[in-house]
């Protein structure tokens, strides 16, 4: 007889705490919601300042207080030839470094995802070190190398350094994609008489391409934004971040805000396109 009696309190008892719990979590949820938006506001505050102060009608060099709205800086983006050169350097270095890092990183990613081989652990360790070691240590050690062997630092040493810190990120991204591949598709291609070469380009490569593209985008983003390693390896060459850093003391002109806004817009567009297309692919 105890059977039908005992479940009754068990089902009724949680009802009250459940209601109380829901009330309390709703409160907690609202608090969390507010907190999250406060943090987001804090995150976006300097970005908003950057965008808005590109339209500031300043008379002196100091671009700190609001002086009125103007579009004139958009027509005078080329006022600082060194800034144009620096921006151009940033873009070409990022393109070159991305190209090299993507090729080398993709090959590494395929090897690490596909094969088991001696020295794999060591390779992973070196890649982990490249990803996690402080930029300052990488920059100073590279400069120590260049000084010791008598290499003049400049454009090409920056490219070398940028390939160095991007290649592991590409490899890790591609490896993740390779590990998730369905091997039977390639087997099917081979069974249908495709050579190793044809199988790779017509079957394997298209399947890992999303990983390669994400890796390349990451490499480009890391390269164009890099400051610390670039400062140590650039010699007299300037890049966009280096020029801004140099201009801080004398006052950063509104042109920098506008260029920063444009780069931001391009970055956001690429990120949105990448998320949308990768969502469609999977």
């Amino acid at each position: 007889m105890s059977g039908p009696v005992s479940p009754a309190p068990a089902t009724r008892a949680p009802a009250a705490p459940a209601r109380a719990r829901r009330g309390r979590t709703r409160w907690g949820g609202r608090l969390l919601f507010g907190y999250t938006w406060l943090v987001l506001l804090w995150l976006f505050a300097p970005i908003a300042v950057m965008i808005v102060f590109g339209f500031n009608d300043i008379k002196s060099k100091s671009n700190v207080s609001w002086q009125g709205f103007t579009l004139k800086w958009w027509g005078r983006l080329g006022d600082y030839p060194e800034l144009t050169t620096a921006l151009w350097n940033s873009i070409t270095i990022a393109l070159l470094a991305t190209l090299v890092a993507t090729v080398l990183g993709t090959l590494m990613g395929i090897a690490l995802g596909r094969y088991r081989f001696g020295g794999q652990g060591a390779t992973n360790l070196v890649m982990f070190a490249a990803i996690s070691s402080p930029e300052l240590v990488m920059g100073t050690s590279l400069l120590s190398l260049f000084i010791s062997v008598g290499v003049q630092t400049g454009y090409w040493t920056v490219v070398i350094a940028h390939v160095l810190f991007s290649v592991s990120f590409v490899a890790v991204t591609v490896r993740a994609r390779v590990v998730g591949l369905d091997g039977s598709v390639e087997e099917a291609a081979r069974d249908l008489g495709a050579s190793t070469w044809v199988t790779f380009w017509r079957v394997t490569f298209p399947m890992i391409l999303p990983g390669v593209i994400s890796g390349a985008l990451l490499a480009f983003a890391l390269s164009i934004d890099d400051f610390v390693i670039t400062q140590f390896t650039s010699g007299t060459t300037t890049t966009f971040p280096l020029w801004i850093y140099g201009a801080v003391r004398i006052g950063v002109p509104p042109q920098v805000n506008i260029l920063g806004t444009l780069i931001f817009a391009v970055g956001v567009a690429i990120a949105v396109i990448n998320t949308v297309t990768s969502r469609r692919r999977t």
Binding site: G28, Y115, S132, L164, Q231, T275
Partner: protein, 284 residues
């Protein structure tokens, strides 16, 4: 035979690049750190280990300050990132990825430019402080720039995503059924959080600490742009020794010490928490 060689051929170009420009330079920096001389007459290897003791004796204040800023900054980053990651993971619903993108969006602006924007915002006569001063709410000589608070604020701001992402990933993996089970077993919201959700998300926090503490401690951009002479970090000293004073041995000795301290810190940290825990979390 060809199949056996294939992985080596694939790894070789990238691996060579990593060895040549990551491992070999460390050997050269170790060598430079015990040299003596100057730029004009050249440097000679004299195994002058006193470079280390001299440099540390001279710059121990900046060293300790950097570690202090790194610790405070990391704790502040946890306090800011955890609730945000929690909210996105559990209350974000279908818009999770949108919120995550919103958190990451500011970081599409160049690192230096972001920090410069903070300088705009916090300037003594800037848009934040001047109105308050005009209203008489703040004394005329009040300033935020050139204080420890400004530098730490910049550090936390610039490295926050490295804390949000791993915590979010860890929280995302918490099975909601486990939390439900806790409620079914009469756990209150507080108990189910402290006994279920928090322990399950700790690997994410550990990974986040690893990913923010090291770059924060070795940063010099925030101190250079937002700080003053009394906020100099070890990174600023190393940068000045290398790029302004051309005193490479002292710079190399400091940089090597910094790396050793960071490595030792990571090692102790990993041992204390269990190596697999940290490495696994970091590998994500």
């Amino acid at each position: 035979m060809r199949r056996k060689l294939a992985p080596y051929l694939l790894v070789l170009p990238g691996g060579l690049w990593l060895v040549l420009f990551l491992v070999v330079p460390l050997v050269f920096m170790a060598s430079v750190s015990t040299q003596e001389g100057d730029v004009v007459y050249g440097f000679a290897q004299t195994f002058h280990f006193a470079n280390y003791t001299d440099a540390l004796a001279r710059y121990q204040t900046q060293f300790l300050r950097s570690v202090g800023y790194g610790l405070v900054g990391t704790l502040a980053a946890i306090a800011l990132a955890y609730p945000v990651a929690y909210w996105i993971a559990f209350k974000g619903g279908a818009r999770k990825s949108t919120y995550l993108l919103l958190v990451l969006l500011p970081f599409f602006v160049s690192f230096v430019l972001r920090t410069v924007s903070w300088k705009f915002l916090l300037a003594d006569d800037g848009i934040l402080l001047q109105p308050l001063k005009d209203a008489g709410l703040l004394p005329e000589d009040f300033h935020v720039l050139a204080t420890s608070a400004a530098v730490i604020c910049g550090l936390v701001y610039n490295y926050l995503p490295f804390m949000v992402l791993p915590i979010y990933v860890a929280l995302e993996r918490v099975d909601p059924r486990v939390v439900e089970a806790a409620y079914d077993l009469y756990a209150g919201p507080r108990e189910s959080f402290t006994k279920i959700v928090l322990p399950l998300s700790l690997p994410g926090v550990f990974a986040g600490v690893l990913m923010t503490f090291v770059p924060m401690t070795s940063d010099y951009v925030n101190a250079a742009i937002l700080g003053g002479p009394s906020n100099t970090m070890i990174g600023n000293i190393i940068q000045t020794e290398y790029l302004t004073n051309n005193n490479y041995p002292v710079g190399a000795a400091l940089s090597f010490t910094l790396m050793a301290v960071m490595l030792a810190g990571i090692f102790v940290y990993a041992r204390a928490l269990g190596t697999e825990n940290v490495l696994e979390a970091a590998a994500r």
